[in-house]
Amino acid sequence: MSDPTKHAPEHAAVHGEHEHHVTPPIVYIVIFATLLVFTALTVGASFVEMGVFNPIVAIAIGVVKATLVVLFFMGVKYSTKLTKLTVGAGLFTFLVLIGMTLADYFSRAWGRW
């Protein structure tokens, strides 16, 4: 109890592939600031006429922001291989489902009624 930063039980290092990672506040502060900057960027970009690139830029910025949240706020960058694989597999399945569905709907001639 004397050292507030040491929280892992004594036998932590004996077992398991990692010791519990504690992300320092500076990382959270930097990510927080970056997320706010990207929010300002995406709002600013929506005021610029870019034709088809408006949605593309907006979604791309959203993907970057979401990636930062997943890696740092949710700590996937410092997590176990099991968690990384779970997140990766989930994302892959999600993209397959969304991608296939959209490809089907957008490419058929059954169109706009």
Partner: protein, 247 residues
Amino acid sequence: MSDSTAIAHEAHHEHPSYQRHHFETVEQQADATNFAMWLFLLTEIMFFGGLFTAYLIYRNWYYPAFVAASHQLNVWWGTANTGVLITSSFTMAMGVWCAETRRKSGLVLCLILTFLLGLVFLGIKTIEYSEKIEKHHVPGFHYSLNSFLHPETDEAATAAGDKPLPLDMARHTELYFFLYFAMTGMHALHMIIGIAILGFMIFRARAGDYTGGHVTFVENFGLYWHFVDIVWIFLFPLLYLISRHAN
């Protein structure tokens, strides 16, 4: 597990009270819980993914209606709410750090801030919803096509330079608002559940429950809260931003 290791474990039996007996170590317990939480979040991603897909398909089909309808949203309320939610994610992340480093008062402060920012988000959402109700833009409840058939009478439509839509296309704006309320409403429901759990956690944190080395609950709630933030990170551009220039 062989008998010899089982006996060896029986022998020194010094695990913390929060370690369940069916786990070898605290780390194994934490990893298993983290894995389970992510599996739950993946089902949530699939669930919201269905709504996002529906939105993208209908936006593609009834493009002029979706563009005109999205001009009815106020981009500044959306921006403010994005800032509020990102800030609440930051305070939640700091709360996890406080729990991990056994800072009790810091944890309580972070949880209270997250709780309050969640309420601010819902407050702004209420302002936006009441605007929709006043303009009869709630699908199924005396829905009005006025803003889309006669954009010159509507402030937001005039500002965006909208042209009048033909009646059959204007009717599809109701579909935009249906998806708007379904997506933001489902997101708001997740916020309400999160805020309720935060209220409960504030009391337990004050009693010192999360600062004794067992941080799993705070960490996993953090994952949930950040996930809700991510949903909004995509809702905001899709609903508010991407149609601002399209006419």
